[in-house]
């Protein structure tokens, strides 16, 4: 790849930037840990797809309809 090409310059920007980071290394470590906690631990264990789980056997719209009507009639 020619050093003057656009793609090389983009690659070099990121490569050089990442290798010469100082505070950025700490920040990236924090970002990765945070993303792992949010998207792996929290999402999988604490935030399931509630409607999909509850509406097995009927459509999600049917489940929501039943919930909304039931709560109004019980009210």
């Amino acid at each position: 790849m020619k050093k003057n090409s656009f793609l090389y310059r983009v690659f070099d920007l990121y490569y050089d930037g990442f290798t010469h980071m100082t505070i950025g290394k700490t920040l990236w470590a924090i970002i990765l840990i945070k993303l792992f906690i949010i998207f792996v631990i929290l999402k999988i264990f604490f935030f399931p797809d509630f409607l999909r789980e509850k509406s097995k056997g009927c459509g999600q719209d049917v489940y929501v309809t039943n919930q909304l009507i039931q709560r109004a009639t019980n009210n």
Partner: protein, 521 residues
């Protein structure tokens, strides 16, 4: 909370779900305003470098960009948790609004990823790689990208408070977008955007001034500190005045769209013409006032007829109070506002029509009853009119904290600007200390604004159409409480880490380039 116990869905589930959302939003909002505010400050500083070519300004720009980067990194993805909560804790609501929210949130995601991610990299890594002009453009575009992202989030929030550009489809059980532009450019969204962004600039400006004043107190980095304070004070004056202007417009729009919120903000129990604006009054912070019996809160200090002006742009204008809104009223122009009792009747009609329609009775007459009454759909879930009155003390005091601090900031920035441009600010030690004290106040003002906006619209998740107890998922309260405390621990840790890294970076100070150091000597 006591009212929730009347409901069949667990009161604890509603309260924990609300508390969890509030906690996440409040923590998320600790990161966002500084990002939006510092974006302006660092953009101006790099513009100074671009115009003067002085290495000093490059060092100053890089210093503020580093602080921006720390805050930006800590804030990344904190808002995603709100979306998780929508899906799990507020699943009825999410299903109903999915079609409306999909577009703005998708646009936000794409812009945030491509625009911010691309230009942030150029801003941090590109000082020696790209031309000064392209670098300057990248710095500004980083800030513009963050601001545009905020636009789409605020569009979604504004829609919940003023649901325009939609129609309810009983076949899909969804609110469907009829006009993208009505949603994206609703007056409520536009004003919310400008008020939120300008108030965020205030946070950035106070932060800049406070950091500069800390250096002056420590007798370090004097040139950087004074130039930063000057820029911070100018940004602060402009932002404070714009926030006051947009705040006034916000009050006007709230009076039209959410009159109960305005009545709660003003502790206005019985409305009428020629209404005064309350500067302060004794509203017990720990108890909902007995608005049905009390004429008005005691010890009121007011600005004559200013509330009428704020709400109607006429000093004699009619402003409804809490009791007017509950009992119904006829405005001086002859417009009749139905009572809550009538709205509940219409809401129940809509729900019954929906039940019939979904049971297979899909004739035009049933659909017409549903569509005619759907604007009051949420009232069908209301048992007692008092459920429709937000907690007045929080709305009243949070509004006064926000506005009071807003005016204080105008004076503060004027004083700081005067002393930094015209005098030797290093001699005013009291001001340097005051500036540091003002930093938490800026956050308190910013968060108070959200407290007014969100507590004032209770109990609605979608104004008039869906109360919290119909929107919430049928979850066990214990599981929501557990995630509440996990978030509390997670966010508090992140905040502590951010403050620690920011303080470390500030203590370290800017990296002086050799040329800049030589010039200063």
């Amino acid at each position: 909370m006591i009212l929730n116990q009347l409901l069949d869905i667990s009161a604890a589930t509603i309260d924990w779900s609300r508390a969890q959302f509030a906690l996440t939003a409040i923590y998320h909002w600790l990161f966002v305003p500084l990002t939006l505010g510092l974006a302006i400050v660092m953009g101006i500083m790099e513009t100074c470098y671009y115009r003067t070519k002085k290495p000093f300004w490059r060092d100053v720009s890089r210093f503020w960009q580093n602080l921006f980067g720390v805050n930006f990194a800590m804030g990344i993805a904190t808002g995603i948790i709100l979306e998780f909560e929508f899906g799990t804790n507020w699943s009825n609501y999410s299903w109903l609004v999915g079609d409306i929210f999909g577009a703005p949130l998708a646009i936000e995601g794409i812009i945030a990823f491509f625009m911010e991610a691309t230009f942030v990299a150029v801003m941090f890594f590109g000082w020696k790689k790209v031309s000064p002009g392209f670098h300057l453009a990248s710095t500004w575009l980083t800030g513009i990208g963050a601001t545009i992202s905020a636009w789409w989030i605020l569009v979604a929030n504004a829609w919940m408070q003023y649901p325009v550009g939609q129609t309810f489809n009983p076949d899909t059980m969804r609110f469907e977008m009829t006009s993208f532009w009505d949603v994206a450019l609703s007056p409520f969204a536009v004003d919310k955007f400008f008020h939120t962004v300008t108030s965020s600039w205030i946070v950035g400006a106070v932060f800049t001034v406070a950091v500069g004043c800390w250096y002056l107190l420590k007798k370090r980095e004097q040139k950087l500190a004074i130039e930063s304070i000057k820029i911070g004070s100018v940004v602060g004056i402009v932002a404070s005045l714009l926030a006051a202007f947009t705040g006034d417009n916000s009050g006007y729009l709230v009076s039209k769209v959410q009159p109960m919120k305005l009545a709660a903000m003003e502790a206005l129990y019985n409305g009428g013409a020629d209404q005064d604006l309350v500067l302060t009054a004794w509203v017990n912070p720990f108890q909902q006032p007995d608005y049905a019996k009390e004429e008005e809160p005691p010890l009121k200090v007011t600005v004559p007829k200013a509330l009428s002006w704020l709400s109607t742009r006429d000093i004699h204008g009619f402003v409804p109070g809490v009791n007017d809104l509950l009992n119904g009223y006829t405005s001086p122009q002859g417009k009749k506002e139905p009572s809550v009792k009538e709205k509940i009747r219409m809401g129940k009609k809509a729900i019954m029509a929906l039940k019939d329609y979904r049971s297979g009775k899909k004739d035009e007459a049933t659909k017409k009853v549903l569509m005619d009454n759907v604007p009051y759909f949420g009232y069908g879930y209301v048992k007692d009119a008092s459920q429709l009155v937000p907690y007045i003390p929080i709305c009243f005091w949070a509004f006064r904290v926000m506005v009071g601090l807003g005016f204080l900031f105008i004076i503060f920035f004027l004083v700081v600007g005067h002393l930094s441009f015209r005098k030797d600010i290093t001699k005013y030690r009291w001001l340097l200390i005051t500036a540091i004290v003002f930093l938490p106040l800026a956050y308190i003002a910013s968060e108070s604004g959200w407290v007014v906006a969100e507590m004032g619209r209770q109990p609605w998740t979608i104004q008039d159409m869906l109360p919290t107890w119909a929107a919430v998922s049928d979850l066990k309260a214990g599981s929501v409480a557990l995630t509440f405390f996990i978030f509390l621990a997670l966010f508090t840790t992140m905040l502590a880490v951010e403050i620690s890294i920011l303080c470390k970076q500030i203590k370290k100070g800017p990296e002086h380039s050799e040329i800049a150091a030589a010039t200063e000597e």
